[in-house]
């Protein structure tokens, strides 16, 4: 048996070895800090631009009155009566309605996929939902403008109501519900799948029917995970822009709770009538963006608090 020796120490001295790792660790810290800094960048730079419309130093006597901005119920360009209050109310209204539609459908779908159907079918349906989740917003927009508005028009005609070509609160709600449905469904499936099977078996052994077990045991045990899905869905709904602005219309005042009239959400305000300009009408969109970020954070905090309360037994 031969032993081939090679010099192990010439190139990589002990110090060198330790150093490479430490240097590498520091080098790798750079992209990590960079990645992490973007959230801060968003907060800093968007606030910087978003505050500008309120500063007389930036816009002189054209500057927007902040109090009017947060309490206002009209959104007109000149004269700059930018009031965001009704837009926030409309946004919350639209998102709440769309989650009301999407949540039961999602939970049922998740239950069906996770529990009530044989493996191949369930796999097929799960793939369908995953594909639906990956459909880009703009395609939902085209579908919304091409089909959903017509459906709304048709519903309106049944009730003898008026609607501006179907571009309405209801169309926005439908489009949003469609878009958050896969998000909530997929998380609910995970939640339901992680419920201990013994619980179900126990329930069945106690003489409960399958449906009773699903509703009283499975869903109840999975509620925390399902709630996480709902939070994610609502977050997505709040921030969804392209599709919403294609079907929301451009209501200049509000708040309006009429399902068949046009509406205006924070995101549609940011996109609609965007004329690639600089100036007040452009910068004010950054202020709207700030409000949107704030709304999302607050909603998240609120819902997470609620989730803790809901999930305290699980």
């Amino acid at each position: 048996m031969t032993k081939i020796e090679f010099n192990k120490d010439t190139k990589f001295s002990m110090k060198h070895n330790k150093k490479t790792d430490r240097i590498m660790q520091n080098i790798l810290l750079i992209p990590t800090v960079l990645s992490a800094s973007f959230v801060l960048m968003i907060l800093i730079f968007i606030s910087q631009r978003g505050v500008a419309p309120f500063l007389p130093s930036e816009y002189g006597n054209e500057s927007v009155n902040f109090l009017r901005f947060i309490t206002g119920v009209t959104w007109y360009q000149p004269p700059n009566s930018y009031g965001i209050f009704f837009i926030v109310v409309n946004t919350v209204f639209v998102v709440a309605l769309s989650s009301l539609i999407a949540v039961p459908i999602s939970v049922f779908t998740a239950l069906y996929i996770a529990k009530m159907t044989p493996k191949p079918i369930s796999k097929f349906f799960q793939t369908i939902i995953e594909l639906l989740a990956s459909v880009p917003s703009i395609v939902f927009g085209v579908f919304g403008l091409g089909v959903i508005t017509k459906v709304v028009l048709w519903i309106a005609s049944i009730f003898g109501l008026q609607t501006a070509g179907g571009i309405s609160t209801l169309a926005t709600v439908f489009v949003l519900a469609m878009m958050i449905l896969p998000t909530i469904t997929l998380l609910s499936i995970t939640a339901i799948n992680s419920v201990n099977l013994d619980l179900e078996k126990n329930s069945l052994a106690l003489g409960a029917s399958k449906m009773q077990t699903y509703f009283k045991v499975t869903l109840v045990s999975a509620k925390s995970g399902i709630f996480a899905g709902i939070i994610l869905g609502i977050g997505r709904a709040l921030g969804e822009a392209t599709a919403v602005s294609m079907v929301a219309g451009n209501a200049g005042s509000g708040p309006s709770f009429d399902l068949f009239s046009t509406t205006r959400t924070l995101t549609s305000t940011m996109l609609l009538g965007l004329k690639e300009t600089t100036g007040l009408d452009y910068d004010i969109r950054f202020s709207v963006g700030m409000v949107l970020i704030l709304l999302i954070i607050l909603t998240n905090l609120g819902l997470n608090y609620l989730k803790k309360k809901v999930g305290r037994f699980s």
Binding site: T74, Y76, Q77, P78, P79, S81, P118, I121, G146, V147, T149, K150, V151, L153, W154, S157, G160, Q162, T163, A164, G165, G166, I167, G249, N250, A251, G252, S253, S261, T262, L272, G273, K275, E276, T277, T278, G279
Partner: protein, 322 residues
């Protein structure tokens, strides 16, 4: 199990089929409806945004100038659209809508264009001044051409082209109302005055902007003029008459959105203090009040009726019909 699978697939197919058929049905719903007009319905009022020249021409034409720059005097629940095209598509979708568009774009829309004060919106009636809702299409160019020699020469040639027989034919083809006179010459006869057009300008981008109403005219002109002037690259970004001034001589003249030539579908305002010799008339246009193509309840409308609709004094179609 197989039975369940079978039922399932049948349900899926059935739903899909129903879905597809509703899809196709509903897409053509607006053209199929032969619904009679329910007069108790409210009039949905559509307006352009405040930077629009069409809006300016419309409201001053009906004697409601207060509304041309101020949304607060308008009826509650009005709908603001941000272009001639979106006005057309909105009214096309809304049986009870009323709005106003440029005459230039009325053809092929299928909308019901109304007479104004008993006068039909036509080329002749505009030229002889009997049609009240008319306005000029103007151009405005930069005053400061620092570092843009070629661009300024191309624009100079472009303006000359708009006044040739060739250019006017194109303008009127896009429904701009323009009078040709015997003194107009062919481009071929004057092109020797514009040496810039014999050079290769394919690396030069000319930025067009301003009124969306003038857009189709401007695009048609630039599309054919580029081949006649060294293949410069025309870039159009039409955002409203107000920006026509702002981006040539106003606050954005040197910003990222600067343009070389802007258009306005109205006269320039006092606040838009342009330098002498930088503007001119391209053609005239009429503003037409339009209803949904299915809505033939009216064929004529007066300025008083329009004022009452837009201010909210009339809310339903019954109000309007008296």
């Amino acid at each position: 199990m197989k039975k369940i699978l079978l039922t399932l697939s049948i349900i899926i197919v059935a739903i899909a089929l129903v879905g597809c058929s509703t899809t196709s049905e509903t897409t053509s719903a607006t053209t199929q409806t032969t619904t009679s007009i329910d007069q108790t319905m409210e009039v949905t009022v559509y307006t352009r945004d405040t930077t629009s020249g069409t809006r300016e021409a419309f409201f001053s034409g009906i004697g409601f100038s207060a509304a041309s720059g101020d949304n607060t005097v308008l009826v509650d629940g009005y709908v603001e659209v941000d272009g001639n095209g979106s006005m057309i598509s909105s009214i096309t979708n809304d049986l009870y809508g009323i709005g106003y568009i440029s005459l230039a774009s009325l053809t092929d829309t299928g909308l019901n264009g109304l007479q104004f004060e008993g006068v039909v919106a036509s080329k002749d009636n505009v030229l002889n001044g009997t049609y009240g809702l008319q306005r000029p299409f103007n151009y405005i160019v930069r005053e400061d051409w620092t570092g843009m020699d070629t661009e300024s020469q191309i624009i100079e040639a472009f303006i000359a082209y708009m006044n040739t027989v060739d250019g006017k034919a194109t303008i009127s083809n896009k429904h701009g109302i323009v009078e040709t006179t015997v003194s107009d010459s062919l481009w071929d006869n004057i092109k020797s005055n514009y040496s810039v057009c014999t050079e290769d300008n394919s690396s030069v981008t000319i930025y067009f902007g301003g009124s969306t109403s003038v857009e189709s005219v401007a695009k048609a002109l630039s599309a054919e003029f580029t081949t006649k002037c060294g293949n410069f690259i025309p870039e159009h970004n039409h955002t409203g008459s107000g920006d026509g001034f702002t981006r040539t001589q106003g606050s954005e003249a040197d910003g990222a959105n600067k343009i070389h030539i802007g258009f306005a579908s109205r006269d320039f305002k006092e606040s838009e203090a342009y330098a002498e010799g930088t503007t001119g008339l391209i053609c005239l246009d009429a503003v037409v009040v339009v209803l949904n193509g299915e809505n033939s309840i009216l064929s004529n409308i007066t300025s008083e009726e329009l004022r009452k609709i837009y201010s909210g004094e009339f809310t339903t179609w019954a109000d309007l019909l008296g």
